[in-house]
Symmetry: D2
Subunit: 315 residues, 4 copies
């Protein structure tokens, strides 16, 4: 087992970067194009120290990593029972934007809060009088848990989300038709599109991971912002469903909770140990960063982070 | 957090037993009928000591818990790459005997080795010249890892499996039609039916769990029988897919690798800590023991076994 | 074989009315309630004479029977090739509002113009500068082919369609997401909801059937309004897909083109012979009038209307 | 409208033959290879006269055209009610060998007797003490209706069917698992494979079509062998489901009952007018002869055979 250091991270970045060529940058994201393909950066935050390597300055939209922040807020606002009346907690063997699964899932609710339909349903479970208030609360919470008061939504990304949102709109109205949407679908979608458009860099992503790993405490004050039960719930759902249709493979190869976004970002939470933030815009067909995926796999192996056991004796 | 003791287990059994009335005993299993409904037993094995409560004498067929033993053998015999050429590692949002998912899964292989189709494909990956040889190796391995040389297959259960095997036969021939079956389907099925019919009691199930939790060592000699990498693989697949269509919920509520069988049995493996065996024949619509499910949830909570965090401070 | 007469129709109505008790009136349709359950009326129009029995005065919304009028207009406006670029012509083994089939239909277009998704796609293929113009053209065409200048849309039905339209909205946005929707989905839906809300009685429905059966001629002038090729297309699609998930059964038992709506109405077109209009609000789980279904079956049998052969010698 | 003549058929063959290059010959059929690709032959039998053109000497296996003969026998042996207890009559929007549709079809029976699962279920509904007796009755019936006492099963084709039968075996066991298979699946499959392997030429296929078109009479004696009701049933199911996933398109473009087989053959039945037999081994992705499909479309158009109307005035 190796020691965590900037040098180690740099080595791993170097080994992982070639995998970027196997992926593609998602063109519908504003200012994303092939020039962003070879970017790869990582920050690891352990509470005491921050380790980093590669490109850690690039701000990218949260995209699907926002789903775990929304889920934390929804659990906090409505409690576990109410949230899981509206959405399931089972992994789903289908693409993240599948609508068939909604129709065939006989409980009439989305499989889990990590698939688009489930995240849209969860978006309706964040308190606030209107979409502005609800999104303000989201931003306040996000700034608190990252300790970064400068986080903002990017207007262009938000507009792009909205204008490319036909499939998500279809999901939202489907939820309305089955009774799994408790507000105007357009309101829930608006909130959802906004959360996807918040810009963060590897440090911010790592801080979200650390918040989950470290008992839900505000960085400054160490005050608990959210009960451990909810963090546990979020982390286990990340492990079973956080990496789109490759969640099972990442559970095997990495072995701790992860959440990815199609902007090529990834949040990792190693319970009791560290938070990890990765940005690597080139993604595979399932939606995960190809270089980022390679990086997190070697990091888990080198540092012995796999919760299901490591190569040395376990006892 | 409480201390593990026979008294604690007895308390938890008492609290969980009422849930048996919500389940039903699977009638196609020989000598299973409503008189077995109120049975509940548990053994916890920590390497040093065995704790137990309730009915620990009843021998029940392994049913789907056999899938994890078959997977260990297949990984051992053919290696990870070859095994996962024939079967996936993704959780599946559908019933364990679904055939639609086979047809719609565009990779033409079963989702994972915990669903029937996947376990039948894995059954074809245990070495041996014929079904007898292959099953002998299975029994030898099972006796080694449990330390119980008396384990046997029950002939009546085997016959019942065979004569009620139409759906599994359908799955096996489907696999043959897509090229995901490397031997005569009837041979693979025969092996599969036999493994399902091996009789064990809570102590045996707990020993299998401990083998997984404790680095794959033979109880007597402490000799490693299987590399840690394979155990890690099996455990993470158990977490994402071991409890049928409730795997996600058990990942949240229990938070460590489990595998259940329709005989109402359950194997738990808490990495580095303990193996758990439960027998409670009354199962719910998804296939999991109702009382056993309640029991494992409270055990995880009382002993703080959830890998994703516990209610006390995590750091 | 019997002779067509008012007396015969009255007998058949009497025999069929008891089947109304097996159905239910769709409550989301304004002024539809259980008091409408025992209504049954029929008009048969042969070009020379009109035969009728039962309640022929009740005006009911066209609902899905509008789909064949929209299809005629779309074929007339854009031609067969263009229309069937956007929608298929295959029957679909699933419910009329299925969205799974959209996702799994690898051509990315709805199965046919008789299912909701297909009709919404077809609605976008009626020419006009805006929804008012397009709907005016629809009404003009409908008044021409029925010879009834008084036909109107009912505002309450339109509003109910709109406010209960979540599933159809979901379908429309899904079509947009796959590129199968050539205009703003809300515009296409608005047109679609309006067509569903046009009120007609049995005589009007019979006239639409006769228009299809009789070469597409305007009743007054006998002038051809639409080429025979398009009528043939519409009629064959009615036969394979006009009666929701019972289309196959009606093809067997009735044997000529039919289209039903959830208002309990039905249009029949016996090529070269007659048009039939039925109103019977109580519908079965598939969406077809129970009494109306019984009625059309006996009518086909008594008059020897089955295109696939009759009980007497065929040659 | 043209007159039926050998010259016309020769012209149409010439025009249609180029479409053969768009198809492919199914290699698993014995003696089928690319040298058979450019074959095309047709026979039309009107009761009085036989018209033909192209290659009418080649004997090819019936493959799926056998499904309509089996259905006639099953209806004759068990009656309509019993047959349609075991199999539906609805068209299915999926591939002919789909197993998903079996699982998702909530009635637990195959959609219709033209899809493989449905034909296997129907195969179990032909009377006889064992598979030999049952197949003898099939051959006797087939010889009677074609007037050809020399028809035989080809042993090599039968063996090929059997050894490539994994998917059909999967379907048969699935049916057994849901209770939709009334005998040993292997017995039903054996009968099914044999019927697929009977060799016929265009004249024989045309005779089967004529039998359906002409009231079910034995050619020699004009004696009715089967009641008109059953023929009507078979013909309407052919129209809605006889041409695999292109049935809807053929209903539109041809407009009378057809059944195709993957050997590139096709049976047409124009009610009251004629039977048509076509052989053209190159098939498209759906399973229909490409040249044969072009040929039957032009034949329908040239002779005005479309039951849903012709281009001249209809009345």
């Amino acid at each position: 087992m190796k020691q965590l250091s900037n040098e180690l991270l740099e080595e791993l970045i170097e080994d992982s970067l070639p995998y970027a060529s196997e992926g593609a940058v998602r063109p519908v994201i504003p200012f994303y194009d092939e020039t962003k393909k070879d970017i790869l950066g990582i920050t690891v935050w352990t509470g005491d120290a921050s380790y980093h390597a590669g490109n850690t300055d690039m701000y990218v939209p949260m995209q699907s990593t926002a789903k775990i922040v929304t889920l934390m807020l929804a659990l906090s606002d409505f409690g576990k029972d109410r949230v899981f009346e509206m959405v399931g907690m089972e992994p789903m063997g289908d693409f993240f934007n599948s609508i068939s699964q909604l129709e065939q899932n006989h409980t009439d609710k989305p499989f889990n809060p990590m698939v688009n339909a489930g995240a849209i349903a969860t978006s309706a479970l964040v308190k606030g009088g209107n979409v502005e208030e609800r999104f303000d609360r989201y931003m306040q919470f996000l700034r608190n848990i990252t300790g970064n008061p400068h986080l903002e939504m990017n207007e262009d990304v938000y507009k792009a989300e909205k204008s490319n949102g036909a499939r998500n709109r279809s999901l939202a109205y489907f939820l309305q038709s089955t009774g799994a949407m408790i507000m105007d679908p357009e309101e829930a979608l608006d909130f959802y599109f906004r959360t996807n458009a918040v810009m963060m860099c590897t440090e911010d992503f790592a801080r979200v991971g650390y918040f989950l790993a470290n008992g839900g405490r505000e960085p400054e004050t160490n005050k608990r912002l959210i009960p451990p039960e909810h963090l546990r719930t979020v982390k286990s759902i990340m492990l079973t469903s956080g990496m789109y249709n490759s969640s099972g493979q990442f559970a095997v190869e990495v072995g701790f909770p992860l959440k990815s976004g199609v902007s090529g970002t990834m949040i990792g939470a190693v319970p009791g140990r560290m938070g990890i933030g990765i940005v690597g815009p080139a993604i595979d067909a399932k939606g995960n960063s190809t270089a980022g995926g390679a990086l997190i796999k070697s990091l888990s192996q080198e540092l012995g982070l796999n919760m299901f056991g490591v190569d040395d004796d376990e006892l």
